[in-house]
């Protein structure tokens, strides 16, 4: 309650444009906090520990999972990636809104720990346009496309975890809608109890 911040989580299946939209929202709302992810993979040339990622060992990451310290994590090509719950809670306690993009499994884990958060699910305009977009990448073979569509269906099946749904039929419009959802979340009455108390003391 009171003047806590909120987490804002953005997800979307392949072809929905999640990375582009996340980048634009971060650029246009620089006041949004973000959390540096932990990973067990090796740093790539130029990556800075504590800025791009916190690079930790498999043992350290596993210890944190066992201790319940990870708000969400996933394995990609044998490497673990995740977000520390403590880092999130600290940002929120300082009144910052924290913006994360994760896949549907990450969002599902976050939803359990932050049920009051804002969860935005992105979609392409229609199944037909999605197929065109995925095909349009050119390199796709039919099997590959089938796999991607299976993945879309799997992700859409998790849309019930999300509070909001944005259709990316126009990039500018989709960015504006995600920003509107964040703005609206900031205006929730429970975040302004202090101001209300000042008026009641008139």
């Amino acid at each position: 309650m009171s003047n806590q911040g909120q987490i804002i989580v953005l997800s979307g299946p392949p072809g929905a444009g999640k990375s582009t939209i996340a980048e634009r929202v971060r650029a246009e709302m620089p006041e949004l906090a973000y959390s540096v992810s932990l990973t067990t993979r090796d740093p790539r040339p130029g990556e800075v520990d504590g800025k791009d990622y916190h690079f930790v060992s498999q043992e350290e990451f596993q210890r944190r999972i066992a201790a319940g310290e990870m708000a969400e994590y996933e394995e990609i090509f044998g490497n673990l990636y995740g977000t520390s719950e403590k880092v999130i809670r600290q940002a929120l306690a300082q009144g910052h809104d924290l913006f994360l993009d994760t896949d549907v499994n990450g969002a599902e884990q976050l939803k359990k720990r932050f049920p009051e958060g804002v969860f935005v699910f992105l979609l392409p305009p229609s199944p037909k346009i999605l197929e065109e977009r995925l095909r349009g990448r050119g390199t796709e073979e039919e099997d590959n496309l089938r796999q991607r569509l299976d993945r879309v269906r799997y992700e859409v099946g998790k849309a019930g975890n999300y509070t909001h749904l944005v259709v990316n039929d126009d990039l500018d419009k989709a960015v504006d809608e995600v920003k509107a959802i964040i703005t609206a979340a900031r205006r929730r009455t429970e975040r302004h109890q202090q101001l209300l108390a000042e008026f009641l003391a008139l």
Copy 2:
């Protein structure tokens, strides 16, 4: 559920700028539906029945209250003003969002019938600025000012009925925030079940 519209209710104590903001929001979001109020007062020159108000008799209005047909109503200087629940439900069923500005009592009645609605409470930036605004009207005597402040306290005491709170410290910003709240409400996941079903059928 499904593709129903929502009601959006705007209230705010004297000095918060409700009328100006409501007018701007209506002008900038012409797709918002509105409901013509019923009233028992006499038409003024130029007012058109069914457009400015539905002008009805005291008996007719009382009959509708008794029949539970009024979503909200209030008495002002001996005249009744109110909104028909049926008219609201029809607009929502057609997928329209319906925008209403009412006082806190009207909003409280609407909240009971439309608990899933969006309720926006406007505030001036601070108690100090509110006093200045009310004094600034010039015609206020001290007693009158005291009465208005009492009214503000009464209205702020009802802010818990509202889902969102917007501070009118800058008119353009306040208008944009109300519009963002409406945009966000339209993106709620439960309003897009049909689109999700299309993707699940991929």
